[in-house]
Symmetry: D2
Subunit: 383 residues, 4 copies
């Protein structure tokens, strides 16, 4: 087996930075069967990509992803671009036999996502969709408690993912607010996360009914749009994605679900909250306090039942032994280190990575069903 895995990463903004950090740090903290080599970073603006590459220790840079995917010294293509490029890059990379990790949501449409899945299956390459919140230790602990039956039969899953970064009407029309680039708004960007978490924790969603709204319909065009920071011009353009999407769902298991994503929830910065209620217990989680999991058990003594705030920083907790002693909390970026660790290990061990593109398609099916439901004002079966 190879001792090293050569990485080529497309994109160097928000997600590109998070992934680069993960490649840079993972081998210092985790024991890997094969270590990543930061071969090449790719972006269109040569000056910027070159500087970024230097800052994060990439060995080389490319300004064309087409060139990157053809490089023979590259084993893995990591896709951190806007959604409109996911498919074309993934298809090319698969054709070249590269293993692929792709940012979420997998694609801008269900059709594209399915095409990507077919491509990686055909090529027989490892593939992962980067739903990093599956790698929050507290979320892994939630999964463990559910699987151990600590919550009993699950009745409820309810999740919101709330942000407020576009609450000002002066915030400019960045790429994430344009359908042709981003596919959708809050729905694909953040509902996708809580949909994936529901799949992970509860299982398959069978039907949905939803609604979408764009409250702020026009925004100033950006002078220069870089990730979440941008300056505005005075010209206005049309917002073509949702500010918010809500939906109700039924799970195959019988549980009922409620989902809501918004970018207009003043004061909620990165409030990815979910709660699970079962016959024996409940749990809830909030990404803004990602080191904590709340757990209630009907099996505790009658007069001492209550929601327990578990500080998920013990050596026995998932991923934590790699880091620091109890109470020394980790941050958001660590979820990417865990994700990259798992992806690299799945390559080195020749095992299926989770969540794979198949999971990405599952999520996309729900996203798509909700959109159709919102348009048709009716329940829609998923898949």
């Amino acid at each position: 087996m190879k001792k090293e895995i050569n990485i080529g990463l497309v994109g160097y903004k928000f997600m590109g930075k998070a992934h680069s950090h993960a490649y840079k740090d993972v081998a210092s903290f985790f024991k890997l069967k094969a270590k990543p080599v930061m071969k090449a970073i790719c972006g269109r603006d040569e000056k910027q990509v070159k500087k970024f590459g230097k800052d994060f220790g990439w060995e080389s840079y490319e300004t064309s992803w087409e060139r990157l995917v053809k490089r023979e010294d590259i084993d893995v293509i990591d896709i951190c671009t806007p959604g409109n490029l996911h498919k074309v890059i993934a298809l090319s990379a698969a054709k070249e036999g590269k293993d692929i990790i792709c940012e979420k949501p997998l694609a801008n449409s269900l059709a594209e996502a399915k095409e990507m899945l077919r491509a990686v299956k055909r090529a027989g390459v490892k593939n992962m969709v980067a739903f990093n919140y599956r790698r929050v230790p507290a979320v892994c602990l939630a999964k463990k408690l559910i699987e151990e039956g600590k919550l009993g039969k699950i009745y409820h899953f309810r999740a919101v993912y709330l942000q407020d970064w576009i609450v000002s009407p002066d915030f400019p029309l960045v790429w994430r607010l344009k359908r042709e680039l981003a596919g959708s708004g809050a729905h694909g960007d953040i509902n996708s996360h809580i949909i994936d978490l529901s799949h992970y924790l509860i299982g398959e969603i069978t039907e949905v009914v939803g609604m979408q709204e764009t409250f702020i319909k026009k925004r100033p065009l950006p002078k220069e749009a870089t990730g979440l920071k941008a300056k505005s011009t005075k010209r206005m353009g049309k917002v073509t994605v949702d500010d918010t999407t809500l939906f109700l769902a039924r799970f195959k298991s019988g549980a009922v679900g409620s989902f809501e994503a918004s970018r207009l929830a003043s004061g909620r910065k990165n409030y990815n909250y979910f709660e699970v209620n079962g016959s024996k217990g409940s749990l809830f989680f909030n990404l803004e306090r990602l080191n904590e999991l709340y757990f209630y058990s009907q099996e505790d003594a009658g007069d001492t039942q209550g929601f327990k705030n578990i500080l998920v920083t013990e050596e026995s907790h998932p991923y934590i032994s790699a880091w620091w002693p109890p109470g020394h909390i980790i941050g958001w970026e660590h979820t990417f280190v865990h994700e990259i660790y798992d992806f690299l290990q799945s390559i080195a061990r020749d095992k299926t990575a989770e969540p794979s593109f198949a999971e990405g398609v599952r999520c996309q099916e729900v996203l798509s069903a909700v959109e159709r439901s919102a348009r048709g004002k009716r329940w829609v079966a998923v898949g």
Copy 2:
């Protein structure tokens, strides 16, 4: 104007006790134009109602509500019975010219509620539906902040009302679990509260889409059912109401809403939670900490924005000057004292009580629309 208002109360269990306490205490803490006189308590079980009457200081008791409503020494009929009796008592009371306060939801069906509204209008009597959570000081403060424009344009209202008192399958089939007595389950009992709060805080709901579920379909018949406490027999009976009801909504104002009621949410005891997000700020509230309101303002200085935990126990806060110094919290029962205070004042001042039966009907229209939506699996216009 009369200096005293004579009360006749039907029901002496959970709600009867809460209302009795309110009549008993209100004049000690609040300055009233006309004080209540606890004339008569009414219930079917003579022994029990007699004892209850003695404990709470009722001057007399009745075992027939028909007799009570005809008593000439009674000015107000207070209805704390199961929902199936609301209409018939209210109609009789109205006919006799009594002012009426009635527990929520106003009736077991929209039709009944409308009939009750017509009756009180025809009779010209004061009427109030006992949505006591409008009288939580923190909720009143929320209303004030919204009205002052502190939240700007409202985008989101999201509320859950979660309890877990029937999560054990051994919990018996009490009256609240039978449609013919209770009208519905979690929906009418607790969704009604958050619907009413949404009306109070946000305004009219125009359309809804919902779902309902009864997870535990059979339960042991009760030996003796008293409020929330009950003993079981070994025979089983069918649960004919919902364990949970969820729905999405659009408000006339353009805001979107999400509602959920459940009695199977392990660990949530009386978790009436709502959150409002607007263009300038947000707020949230949780009944289990009813002395607190969380408020976020975009207008705070940039580096000190955050959700503020307002301990709503200052003399300047609604109702609080009647009670204790700052930080000396009030309890759930106090909301009834406030409600009765307001109702008595509306009688003494000859002003419309809020929320009136008209508000009760508005709530019932939403309850009904959600039920039709759940059956038809489609969006339904309200009203």
Copy 3:
């Protein structure tokens, strides 16, 4: 045994109101062996005391406590005056054979407190010092958990009692800020509460070292001082009590303790917080959320240890079965109902009331030792 206990209460401001409410409500919610009869309320201002008596249902009023204690129709004297009157009233009442409940701290000095204890012992009357926070259900649960050994060997007790009602230098010089009336400031008023709680939960304190500070040394004289509300004049007077007192302590059990009282802690309204750490677990409590107890157990499964937020509103919790279903929280005033209930039961059952004047003296010994320690800048043995 008598079926009724006749009460005479001296004082009708903050504490007088809290006690009056308790007498008024206790028999409605609790089953008593002998019910209280609200015979007479006593205060110096006839107009005010008369009105108060009417509001709360006192049968008569007195403007002289000397007359009150001599009335033959009175069984219990309840002392809710400023501290400078505790001793003289208690001694007279004891002489008349009345049972006595007295507000805390028991006296303005240790010598006075001891004299009061001797008097009630000599007279053989029931006696209680009104440390109402022993009657918070969550505090009782804390006591139970400690007694059951759930915390193991206790290492730490740490408590603060923080308020901010005099943080404005314009707040006037009310009686609580004058040594001759109040005995001391934050120390006697609120340190006394957490000292008593430490006695209740941990046991005897053997030695202390403390410090005291009066940050705001002059304040405007009040026009009219009524409890915590007061209007100022322009003349200034000297504050003769502490704004804050802190001390460290050793318990007989070997545990170490930290105590702090302040009336200048901006934002802390009634923040009576204590924490106990033991070899097997910990717990903490905050009076501003008095329905909650936080409990950590080393005996929970390794990956689910955490502080549990117990909502102390279950029927199985102390005092709660008298009130409302789970999650329907009680308020600060309820602690007085519990206290009066226990006091009345101790009289009816002819048992020693807890905490008795002996406990009041124990607390006073600590208060006194801390004051001597602060003056002498050294450790002082208690008692």
Copy 4:
């Protein structure tokens, strides 16, 4: 000016790992005038130090610190050893003209600390003591708010630093529990942190009174002691440091303070909590939620005062612009990146680093005064 700064680090366990990570990442996220080069890592166990060096990207390794400090290619000596080696390494490094960053507390005694200070002054080298919690963004914000006068005159500083990693009596006698290696226990290890924070936020401490306790006096000898993890043998040895140290303090400004450190506080993992109360406002902070600062202002509108939970992850907050968008929290390790960033910048800009060894001595003076106070059972002046 040099474009690179060559680092030599002594120690590769807990702190060595945290510092190594910081050197590895700092230049990826922060713009530095001179970048660090990870020249050499030093430790006694060749196999372990070699492996560690490889994992974190150190160019070389040494097994003798004496050799390291003499290497001409080293600019900075970073001391992450147990306290007993701080002085000797620092003195040698200063003699060689190296800039020095040293873990806290600066030394095992005040005398040693002073000697170190003289040495760096004499040598004219940059020096910093690694009190990393000054670099928590929320703590920096607290400092800013205090300096801006948002809290008014400061009355109270109260801090606890609570952990529970030695609460089991079976936990072995690691170096941190031996006076000859660690100098003291909880006192030097974690009280030092909150003392330094009090200096940073409030200013100089003038006198103290304290107490110390070792509850668990004997522990099993360790087979192999590595940082906080260790295996035990069956032989027992004597614990020669404190489990807990508490003290009261007076600040030069007039404020009063309370401090407590414990390693036996079940459930408190890394609970570094401080609260500041002033005439205009208050704030509090808890390291287990290090992205949050709570702030109360008397200047808010009367009915919306409350403790505000500021999520300190905005671009405008200290250090945050280098990291992620709002709500994407950072972890404990980031404080070291900030610290190393500031240290490197102070070297590159030839400015005094803060906190310098002078600050380290200030802290040591308080540590020493508390120890003398505990022995003598009296107040002791600091310095």
